[in-house]
Amino acid sequence: MVAVENITQLIQEKARELLSSGQVELVIGYQRASDGVTARPAFVRKAEDAGKLIFDQTCTHNLGKYAIEHRGKSLAIVAKACDTFGINVLIQEKQIVREKTYVIGINCPGVVESSFGETGDRLQYRCQICQEHAPAVFDYIVGDPILEKPLDFDPYAKVKELEALPQEERIAFWEKHFDRCIRCYACRNACPQCYCTECVVEQIDPNWVGAPIQVPEKQIFHVIRAFHLAGRCIGCNECERVCPVGIPLSLLNMKFSLEVEQQFGYKPGRDPEVCAPLATYQPDEDLGIGG
């Protein structure tokens, strides 16, 4: 793994400073998990507790989720490069107030694949394809800048492979995966971009999806989830990470990312001032619609 001790130390110091000066009332970061090897979210309110904060390549969680939960408070949040894109989206969508959110941005070396009690050196796929290791928004930045080098492979390769399959195989592919879904909604709830008071898939009136935990409903749920993330998903891949039954959700999100990028030339979270692709239009664009 990349050496990140100094990052841990800098985060701790900054947290201490922010809390003792009263500039923020809460620091959201990472701490060591109960398995002793991976990380989990930490919520620090007292300067003396700042010592438990850590950062290493097991810090995979996107903490933006909690920024929404604690909206209104003045807080500091530890955010990897991709997490800061999420924060931008939340600012764009008026879910958090920039001024009240102190972002401790990290020049992120990428995080590794890990599960309870297990971790290793293998970068997560989303980090293998990452080409923006520097935070898009921050008040304080830690970690050495990372040299961006062009990918020698197509980040969307997996999506395109699937696209290339014959229809029957694609259907079979998704059926076999959605068959395992138990509608625990972990994918949705882990997503920092999902913050609806009452998600449409749980609404009874109107009954958009229906309660049955069966393939049609499960599939509709996943389509809606992915569609509602179209032009908003910043690829943190929390959804896929938390899925207990290993559904390749990134293949759904990345399909939309691909389309949004190709059709509208838009990447979410880079600039909160830019209008989201589904909230704007070009009068003369064609998009293969209308005859």
Binding site: A33, S34, R40, Y66, A186, A211, P212, Q214, E238, V245
Partner: protein, 329 residues
């Protein structure tokens, strides 16, 4: 004690398939799950435990309770037929014990008919855990890696086959025709698990209901339903009607106290609006309410699925620890 070689075991299972639907752990895209099998080759012999507990085979994620249909103006009510004899093969003692707990809640008066029907048709052939590892903690909560409770047959993998221990008459019946050989050898003892005690928890939970500890424990909770859906002893469900033209199908689907809207009542009031309140419900149900009703039995079997799969590593073992400290404090 009797022993059966792996080969005869396979033969036996294959013959069972004529009379029974055989469910066993299989590897589905890298996830161990219980599924109906048509060949013993599908069985994941090396599995540790299934992601989704086998309770889903008796208490399905979604089941149809009845269907109401207008037939020339007259409403007709029909219910699904449940008549399939089933063997669940290879489940772990913790999950079998959990099923016994589900039985208590579903089959006591008033009896939950669909559950009872399905349950009556199921025979449980379990596998002892020979090499249990942390975070499993069955031994600390009244279970054992080779416990027999809830099982009809217990099998324990040995060097030259599986030790077979019929537990119930049902178990004996299902073993008919199995090529068992007597042996003097004894099943291997399971590896030891880190020990901690859950003594006195139940009794003292009422005192700590208002402790700030609960809030701290679940600060990171994202209100997903993993812990409850993967819990072998959780059995909450939601009853919904599905309309199809003028026909209505009433179905029940798994639900979870961890879902933000689970407790919402007519008019929109939600008595468990905070995740702390929901988390407390989860814990109190397992460690206080259930025991109060069912002879002090804690409705947790220490399978640690919740620990392994929690997206934010809320570790019930830590909770128990905190609780002890909080109580002693």
């Amino acid at each position: 004690m009797d022993i059966i070689t792996r080969e005869s075991l396979k033969r036996w299972l294959t013959t069972l398939m004529d009379r029974y639907q055989v469910m066993a752990p299989v590897l589905a895209e890298g996830n161990h799950l219980f599924r109906a099998i048509s060949s013993t080759d599908e069985i994941a012999w090396d599995y540790y435990n299934s992601v989704v507990p086998p309770k889903e085979l008796i208490f399905p994620l979604t089941e149809s309770l009845f269907t109401l249909e207008y037939q020339n103006g007259v409403p007709q009510i029909q219910e699904p037929v449940i008549d399939r004899q089933t063997v669940i093969f290879g489940l772990r003692p913790c999950d079998a014990r959990a099923i016994a707990m589900l039985d208590a809640s579903f089959m006591n008066d008033p009896v939950d008919v669909p559950y009872a029907r399905r349950r009556a048709l199921v025979t449980l052939v379990g596998w002892a855990c020979v090499r249990p590892e942390s975070p499993c903690f069955c031994v600390n909560i009244g279970g054992a890696p080779n416990g027999t409770q809830g099982l009809d047959v217990l099998m324990t993998e040995g060097t030259d086959g599986y030790f077979v221990e019929p537990v119930t008459e049902k178990g004996k019946a299902v073993l008919e025709g199995a090529e068992l050989k007597h042996t003097d050898a004894v099943p291997p003892e399971p590896a030891a698990l880190p020990a901690f005690s859950t003594e006195g928890l139940t009794e003292r939970l009422p005192e700590v209901f208002l402790s700030p500890m609960w809030q701290q424990q679940v600060e990171a909770c994202i209100s997903c339903k993993i812990c409850t859906f993967l819990c072998p002893t959780c059995y909450c469900f939601d009853v919904r009607d599905r309309r199809d033209g003028e026909a209505v199908e009433r179905m029940r689907c798994w639900d979870s106290c961890q879902g933000a809207h689970f407790s919402k009542i007519a008019g929109g009031y939600n008595p468990r609006a905070t995740k702390t309140a929901r988390w407390k419900q989860f814990f109190y149900h397992k460690y206080l309410y259930y025991p109060e009703r069912f002879g002090g039995v804690i409705a947790c079997v220490g399978c640690a699925r919740c620990v392994r799969k929690c997206p934010v590593n809320i570790d019930i073992r830590e909770v128990i620890q905190d609780l002890k400290e909080d109580i002693s404090a």
